[in-house]
């Protein structure tokens, strides 16, 4: 699967993109967040307050309970501020 991070999440995590297989036991966006937080302090800092994080699965906004399949593109970013 492909993971993307934008804005300050990218800065805290230290990369904008990662590719790896869907971890075992990770079936939802929420479970993926929990799994990522075990990977290092940058992830913990970026994903510590989920009230300021939004998620997209395959380029559509998604909630924490959205199911995941291997090959999905999952993005993490702050609330949008364009326009």
């Amino acid at each position: 699967m492909k993971l993307l991070y934008f804005a300050w999440l990218k800065q805290k995590i230290g990369t904008g993109e990662e590719d790896f297989p869907l971890p075992a036991d990770v079936a939802t966006v929420g479970a993926l967040v929990d799994w990522l937080k075990t990977r290092g302090p940058g992830y913990g800092e970026a994903l510590g307050d989920l009230s300021v994080v939004r998620f997209a699965v395959n380029q559509d906004f998604a909630g924490l309970d959205h199911p995941l399949a291997d090959g999905d593109e999952v993005a993490f970013f702050p609330p949008v501020t364009g326009g």
């Binding site: 380029q59 949008v80 501020t81 364009g82």
Partner: protein
């Protein structure tokens, strides 16, 4: 039509290029980089976006506007990259036979893309360094107003 681009755009030329058999009303909105925010001076800003999802979301928003109002034509341009104060960021133009359809759909498009198009602004605030702009709840409210009036 939607366009996501680094380059500037020419509002007059884009307006002249709107095509339709019976355009009686053209509404436009142009967003520019402001030079200050309250008391704080703003320098340049950098607009980051999510390539792919941005285009997808803008196309969905445009399709929604065309479904809700009888539009002859419709254009959304959103820039990304580094922009100085005074530079244009975003352009919405709507063309219709009738005034209210053009005005309302233009307001709808800009309200909605503020909350649904994946762009993030990083402001250069002089001695204070760089700062990511936080989303405003007033933007959510503006977009929710349209959700409430959905036909």
């Amino acid at each position: 039509m939607i366009r996501v681009q680094r380059e500037d755009f020419d509002v007059g030329a884009e307006m002249a290029a709107m095509s339709g058999n019976n355009i009686g009303a053209l509404a436009s909105f142009t967003g520019l980089v402001r030079g200050s925010d309250g008391d704080a001076d703003i320098g340049a800003m950098t607009l980051e976006h999510y390539p792919g999802m941005t285009e997808k979301k803008l196309a969905e928003i445009e399709a929604e506007a065309r479904e809700r109002w009888p539009l002859e034509d419709c254009l959304v341009i959103h820039r990304y990259g580094r922009l100085e104060p005074g530079e244009r960021i975003v352009l919405v133009i709507t063309a219709s036979s009738h005034r209210q359809a053009a005005l309302e759909s233009c307001a709808f498009l800009i309200d909605w893309l503020k909350t649904s198009a994946p762009f993030w602004k990083l402001e250069e605030r002089g001695a204070d360094g760089e700062e990511w702009v936080e989303a405003r709840s007033s933007d959510d409210q503006a977009a929710e107003k349209w959700a409430a009036t959905k036909k």
